[in-house]
């Protein structure tokens, strides 16, 4: 009887906490039952992009890292789940048609679950970041197409944040097999999925060939960045030909081109930047 009263009292306290300090801290922090409930919620609402076990699904970041790009405190994570992240594929709670709208309680359960999955003592990068930086801007030619912290090319995705939002394995995979999963570019507010970095070749009416990547596209027009970083805005019905390919414009960096050691150093550099 006493125990039940006690539980009831705690329950009231929790409700009060949730109602009045929802923006400050997780009222369910450390609660194993809440973490389990959060695991169900996570499967339904988050795993599509963030993968089962929150390890990152190639589309969404690995959430088992203690260091997160867009949110640090539980309150930050709550805001991110509730409101999404503008300019990224992360939607606001209940708006995207994947999963269902979550209650505040369920969001806290998910945060509890994510915290329970975090690897506290994450193994540091295996490579040497300083050498990786030299390679990135030098011999490996990454910066011809990719920018990090404002320096580098524009043809490929800006990689400043990638070390903070993708798993080490996902980064390695996208270097070794760039066509397996094309990177996401522009995200439009109500569109289901972002534009992918598809390769394109367009031939204009006067016979000029344009090779590059799609910045955006619809059935009637296409916006291309060519290999010289020139932007071309084209109407498809005025083109002589238009061809897309899911073969990434990025060359395939196999071990013969870039050794495992060099790649580890580059990844270490990206993680050191992304973790800032």
């Amino acid at each position: 009887m006493f125990r039940r009263l006690c539980v009831g009292f705690v329950g009231l306290l929790l409700l009060g906490t949730a109602a009045y300090t929802a923006d400050d801290r997780n009222p369910l922090a450390g609660d194993a039952k809440a973490a389990k409930a959060g695991e169900y919620e996570f499967r339904i609402n988050c795993a599509l992009c963030h993968g089962l076990g929150a390890r990152g699904g190639g589309r969404g970041p690995d959430l088992t890292r203690a260091q997160k790009k867009h949110a640090h405190s539980d309150a930050d994570v709550f805001q991110v789940i509730s409101n999404g992240i503008a300019g990224t594929a992360m939607p606001a709670n209940g708006t995207n048609g994947q999963g269902v709208g979550m209650t505040d309680e369920e969001i806290w359960q998910i945060i509890t679950y994510i915290r329970s999955q975090e690897v506290k003592a994450a193994a540091g990068p295996m490579g040497k970041a300083a050498r990786g930086k030299d390679l990135f801007y030098g011999d490996a030619n990454c910066s011809l197409c990719h920018m990090v912290e404002g320096k580098g090319g524009r043809l490929g995705p800006d990689l400043t944040g990638v070390g903070g939002s993708r798993t080490r394995e996902a980064i390695i995979d996208s270097v070794r097999n760039p066509s397996r999963r094309l990177a996401w570019g522009l995200t439009e507010a109500t569109k289901e999925f972002p534009q992918e970095y598809e390769s394109v070749t367009a031939v204009t009416a006067d016979g000029k060939e344009i090779k590059g990547v799609t910045l955006n596209e619809d059935s009637f027009s296409v916006q291309i960045m060519d290999v010289n970083e020139q932007i071309h805005l084209l109407e498809k019905d005025k083109l002589r030909s238009f061809q897309k390919s899911r073969e990434s414009a990025m060359p395939k960096y196999d071990a013969a081109v870039l050794s495992d050691k060099d790649l580890e150093d580059i990844v270490a550099f990206l993680i050191s930047v992304g973790a800032k």
């Binding site: 169900y40 269902v100 397996r180 569109k191 289901e192 059935s219």
Partner: protein, 533 residues
């Protein structure tokens, strides 16, 4: 030549209607007018434009010869956030529509200027699945009818937007909600519940249009002692789902309502609910006066892939047969004898891997390797289906069925999950099967006589737009990139497009005011109307 002839006849009818003093402005929308909606093509009075669900407009002022010159006439910004799934109604020059978060409004259909706006306050703890959306209103007498996210049915005065009556249909806190456009039949407002994601027990209700009194309820999951109850394991029927969240159709000749139902709950886990799980993923033929079941046809038995069968069932008469056709989320196009519910044909119209055999009735049956596992299994179509809620159209001039389709496969994973009232109840997760497998989106034209896909147009990416066909030889649809497109109905070649600046999740309509035809559609958070210059 033949087409030109029929077009001229259609024009003549329109002209007669328009010249005969039309109908007095703001006339009562009677049941007779709804039954005979083809006689007043200037109006769009039900979700699908008529009771048969064809989403076909008899107007032909805008046609294949002039569609290329269409221009935007007005834009109405709702200020709602999220997806607009509404199909507007137009009656005698006034356009009525809905938007997210329990909004409804009436506009001058010529100018887009608002006449009234209504918004119902939403409790903080509603449980909407898949966005705070609404797909439209019903109109009858001098009232419009709205289903709300907190599971109320509300009658509004069509002239003022004032609430005439307000009925709580079910408890929203355990996952009931309404997103569907109700259907007005006789003096009843018929509406189906959403909530298959929360393990509700689905139902279809009918309310007295004058008073809001509930006249009947049909539970889509039979209770103890009712036929079909034996298709549920143990107590699983209590949380069995089978919601009814898309608008059905009505056959006045037999006084039957045809209403489709959604997935059994939990959607992606069959363990614990052994059996066919009637009447999930079914087409129900109900007596309009009593809600009594006349027949049913179950498309997907014991579904484990979230393949709601809630697509609009379209009434078609062909070759002396009384048919009903549905392009189902599971990837098959079904033609059914609507006098008895017997299957006539089922033909794949998109990428499917879940069935490679048919039962004695000709119904596709699932193969073992389609059943989700903990590790996950790749199945086509994916959870979003070959099509979904996007409204199709049937054009009696081309005798073709037009539907938005998607080729996408998913990895279906399943895991045990206890039911908890008001909490999402999927028992699952699914993932895009994406490697080198981009999702493809199409507008397809299916010949119901053969099930063959006769024409298709490939979109840049899959779209959630519905489809309209018109007597002008046109088909209209939208895309995920924000284009509204006019196609030649005879070839699906695009003739015109307009960039609306927001993805399309709604279906188009056509109407006329002052003898001028308009085509309207919602995109982004706005409603657009187009016409000739």
């Amino acid at each position: 030549m033949k087409r030109v002839g029929s077009q001229t006849i259609a024009s003549g009818i329109v002209l007669i209607v328009l010249l005969s003093g039309i109908l007095p402005a703001h006339a009562q929308v009677t049941f007779e007018r709804l039954v005979n909606s083809a006689k007043e093509p200037q109006n769009w009075m039900t979700y699908s434009g008529d009771y048969s669900g064809k989403r076909f407009s008899g107007l032909d002022q805008i046609n294949t010869t002039n569609a290329g010159s269409l221009v935007a006439k007005w834009v109405y910004q709702t200020a709602a956030t999220g997806k607009l799934e509404t199909t507007p109604l137009v009656v005698d020059g006034i356009l009525y529509a809905t938007a997210q978060d329990n909004r409804a409004f009436a506009l001058d259909a010529r100018t887009g200027r608002p006449i009234w706006m209504y918004q119902r306050q939403i409790p903080g703890d509603i449980r909407p699945c898949c966005g705070r959306v609404n797909r439209g209103l019903a109109i009858l007498g001098n009232k419009v009818f709205l289903g709300t996210l907190d599971a109320h049915v509300i009658a509004l005065d069509a002239k003022t937007g004032n609430v005439v009556w307000d009925v709580a249909a079910a408890d929203y806190r355990i996952g009931h909600s309404f997103t569907v456009a109700p259907l007005a039949v006789k003096n009843l407002i018929v509406i189906g519940v959403s909530g298959g994601e929360y393990g509700v027990r689905g139902f279809i209700d009918a309310y007295d249009a004058d008073t809001g009194a509930r006249k009947w309820r049909f539970y889509t999951v039979p209770g103890p002692g009712e036929p079909g109850h034996e298709t549920w394991e143990g107590d699983s029927w209590k949380v069995g789902g089978a919601p009814a969240w898309n608008t059905g159709t009505y056959d006045a000749a037999t006084n039957q309502i045809f209403w489709p139902t959604g997935n059994p709950s939990p959607s992606n886990r069959g363990e614990g609910r052994a059996g066919d799980n009637l009447y999930s993923n079914s087409l129900l033929a109900l007596d309009a006066d009593t809600g009594k079941l006349k027949w049913y046809f179950q498309f997907t038995r014991h579904d484990e892939h979230d393949w709601d069968a809630t697509q609009v069932p379209v009434i078609v008469d062909a070759g002396g047969k009384h048919l009903i056709a549905q392009a189902n989320r599971n990837g098959f196009f079904y033609v059914i004898d609507r006098t008895n519910g017997k299957l006539i044909s089922a033909t794949a119209y998109g990428k499917t891997t879940w069935s490679d055999a048919k039962d004695a009735d000709g119904r596709p049956v699932a193969n073992q390797k389609a059943s989700p596992t903990l590790e996950g299994r790749r199945v086509c179509p994916g959870a979003l289906g070959t099509t979904n809620f996007m409204a199709p159209a049937y054009d009696p001039q081309t005798s073709l069925f037009y539907v938005t389709a998607r080729d996408q496969c998913d990895i279906f994973s399943t895991a045990p999950q206890p039911y908890e009232a008001g909490h999402a109840f999927y028992g699952s997760a699914y993932f895009p099967s994406e490697e080198a497998e981009p999702y493809l989106g199409f507008l397809k034209a299916i010949d119901p006589a053969t099930g063959e896909v006769k024409w298709k147009f490939q979109h840049t990416s899959p779209t959630w737009s519905g489809v309209l066909s018109t007597a002008g030889g046109l088909v209209f649809s939208g895309d995920a990139e924000g284009n509204f497109i006019a196609f030649d109905a005879a070839s699906l070649k695009p003739l015109w497009h307009f960039q609306m600046g927001g993805a399309v999740y709604a279906a188009p309509i056509a109407f006329a005011v002052d003898r001028r035809e308009y085509v309207a559609i919602a995109a982004g958070s706005a409603v657009y109307a187009f016409g000739l210059p």
